[in-house]
Symmetry: C2
Subunit: 472 residues, 2 copies
């Protein structure tokens, strides 16, 4: 990659950034919340908007994929004129998270507002902003290389159900397997460590989640007449939740760590290079302390270690004041983040055993799972596409070293990897304080510009690597 080329991509991106901003403003106004059925018409509008934007960018083939039980997805293809060029599949999603609690937003989540380098709206970072940098990136790639088709064949698959757990994604991938065949998949739904610390995700955590309900007496009982002599589901749910971790923060589900790929010393050394540390993390988390599995750093806990988290707990009287009852029922919503090579089904079986072992006499426990879960995924650092990726990112960040990280969140990446049989890399420019899934989501516009530049460079880099090397 010559320095002339690099300048070309960046110049184009910066010269055309207003078009990216205008596109963002338009697309972010569509409240495509996949988790809310009354927003499904908006999810369709969102897909149609992106399809139109892809056409406008120059993609010769653009299709709405709405021929299955899934919410509309978008497929776009731009073939390289080189028949031996690698085929690259870009994955992202156009649906967004719900916005409640709405009262905590400082601005309307669907009326994007720009404040300096920051644009605020639901979906700005997750994931619309990141998809739009790709459209600008393709144009920058063509302009800088003087071509009319990209150096690699580009295929985009933009899902509309990611924020609902991608319930039909495997089915969608299977239905359209012919369109999606590729030599490498570029996932664009992640972030970097900091604006001045470029990084690339090398792992995503899996996820499996359940609601445990404990049933005690068949009716709420007077705590004076019965309290202290019958099992109390609200106390027992507390005891169950407390038993989930030992005092070292290790998850106590039987067999939980059996399949965990432990960090190597090399990986731990790379993790340790990441600047910022706990103070910056706590500022973003708005938390007063870190917490977690003993013997691991915050970054390791977030990316490389599996967790058990209580997302909700409830039972008995919820109102103001007091009602002196022994409640009949209580529940906990528990989710497990998994790392390679944990299997959601095996963790689920272990948790059911754990619940059975911790259910007091006289309590009936029921465990209801949210689907089959999501597998974790891991990118080996010697993957050739990972080399091309870090070169492109480094160039967009003026030669800075690109650190490998692992994302704590979960997505359909493992399903992609399995369905495609191709290596995965992650090109994403979200920032830790983007408040995705929370009120006041934002995106950094300069990060989107760097994303566009890196994407433009990546297509050249992957072409130079070649199909055979990419497939390994």
């Amino acid at each position: 990659m010559t320095s002339t080329q690099r300048s070309g991509e960046r110049e184009y991106v910066l010269a055309h950034r207003d078009e990216l901003h205008a596109d963002l403003d338009a697309w972010l106004r569509i409240p495509g919340i996949s988790a809310q059925p009354d927003r499904h018409a908006d999810v369709r509008r969102s897909a149609e908007w992106f399809a139109e934007a892809a056409r406008r960018t120059g993609f010769p083939t653009v299709e709405l994929l709405d021929d299955g039980p899934w919410l509309p997805a978008v497929y776009a293809e731009w073939r390289s004129d080189d028949p031996d060029a690698p085929v690259v599949l870009v994955y992202g999603h156009h649906d967004v998270q719900p916005v409640d609690p709405l009262e905590l937003w400082h601005t309307d989540p669907f009326d994007p507002t720009v404040d300096g380098d920051v644009l605020r709206a639901r979906g700005a970072s997750d994931d619309k902003g990141q998809l739009l940098f790709h459209l600008l990136g393709v144009r920058a790639h063509l302009a800088a290389t003087g071509r009319t088709s990209p150096k690699v064949t580009l295929r985009f698959i933009i899902e509309g159900e990611e924020e609902s757990g991608s319930p039909h994604f495997e089915e969608l991938l299977a239905s359209h397997a012919d369109k999606l065949a590729c030599d490498v998949c570029v996932v664009t739904d992640t972030g970097m460590i900091a604006p001045d610390v470029p990084s690339a995700v090398t792992g995503m955590r899996g996820l499996v989640a359940a609601t445990v309900t404990l049933h005690g007496p068949d009716l709420d009982l007077h705590s004076g007449q019965f309290g202290g002599a019958v099992p109390n589901p609200a106390t027992e749910i507390g005891r169950l939740v407390a038993a989930l971790h030992d005092d070292e923060g290790r998850v106590q589900v039987p067999g939980f760590y059996d399949d965990v790929v432990e960090l190597t010393d090399t990986e731990r050394a790379l993790f340790a290079k990441v600047p910022g540390g706990d103070e910056a993390f706590l500022r973003v988390a708005q938390s007063r302390a870190t917490h977690g599995e003993a013997g691991f750093s915050t970054l390791e806990r977030l990316g490389a270690r599996p967790t058990a988290e209580v997302n909700g707990i409830g039972g008995g009287y919820q109102g103001d004041g007091h009602k002196t009852i022994v409640p009949s029922d209580a529940f906990a919503k528990v989710s497990f983040r998994l790392v390679a090579d944990q299997d959601p089904a095996r963790v689920a079986a272990g948790f059911e055993r754990f619940v059975a072992e911790h259910t007091a006499d006289g309590i009936e426990a029921r465990v209801a799972w949210e689907g089959a879960g999501v597998r974790p995924c891991l990118v080996p650092l010697d993957t050739p596409a990972y080399g091309a990726l870090t070169d492109a990112i480094s160039a967009a960040f003026d030669g800075a070293e690109v650190l490998p990280t692992r994302e704590g969140g979960s997505g359909p990446e493992a399903a992609l990897q399995q369905a495609l049989g191709a290596p995965l890399v992650f090109l994403g420019v979200g920032l830790p304080d983007d408040q995705i899934h929370a009120p006041n989501e934002k995106v950094s516009l300069p990060m989107l510009h760097k994303g566009a530049e890196a994407a433009a460079l990546l297509w050249s880099g992957l072409a130079a690597t070649g199909r055979d090397a990419l497939r390994g």
Copy 2:
């Protein structure tokens, strides 16, 4: 007490039971729920109804006490023509519990329905039925003894805020101390073991209750991006609740058992005489197992041992499905039932220490108390009034032995005892399956008839005991 007298009281009660039933039907239609401000007009109507019924019974002095911040109470007095007769104060309450969840009622809670020996309505057992047996009891006492005034001077204080924790009762007692002076107080708001096992309460548990709120991160966090690295209030509230009891069911609040008057061997032998046992208890509780402090029977756990009970727990996502967050807040509503000589203030201080000791780094805990709490009370078995009480009850139950019990619930009895400086006894005929405070509250009509007979006999018995003996 001669057998002629006994017959006279019972004959009168049974001959006039339809009047009791008609009164019950009328009074129970008034939804005097003291906990609900929009029912406070009904609480007043309920007080007015009882005042009128007392006048109709023949009480020469009847007053509505509404000259303070309390909801209307009723005072009634019927002086004995014997100037040396003991003065007896009867305590009860005319307000009722809320009725939610309404959908679990099989009949309208304020449209009393009679089914054989059972009458169903909110307040049937707690406490309107029991107050009405007293009105019939006074008439039976007069009829059977051929008198125009009772053998003891009777004073009734009928509170209107008991189901809201009697927030102004001490103030009411202080304001009307002159009216309420007595040699013995008869509390009528309790129950017996079974229809064929007469008993008398000799202790009430005290109560102190708090809501503990744990605050973690200042916003709900994405459990993938932050989970496993910050303290989770929903997990921590579980750990706090779990720490409340050890594996033997003993409460772990520092100093909790320091002031507990332990059961004597004699008391434990009497407790052991109570028939029914766990099987009957579980049927009423609709629970699949007993549970509680190791080393104590169910009856001992309920009456003679203090408890910590979780009345409600909550935090994080409460809806269907899942939201993968680390919640910002979680809470537990905890109440403690106390036994003599525990002090609510000392237990409260111990619990605050307990919470502080169990609050994880990065979590802010807040403990909000529901008032100052209620003291426990205990009737020594050698109290002379207790002898007169058990004689009267035994007679009403054809000579059966009357077993001493302790009530698990809490009331303003300790405040009464303290304010009056007089001994307390408990005459109540509720049954364990009356479902007070729950949907489908009921009362056994034959138990009310026995209550009326016992009350009629008790006034003679207390007169025979005499003032000096009563005051001890």
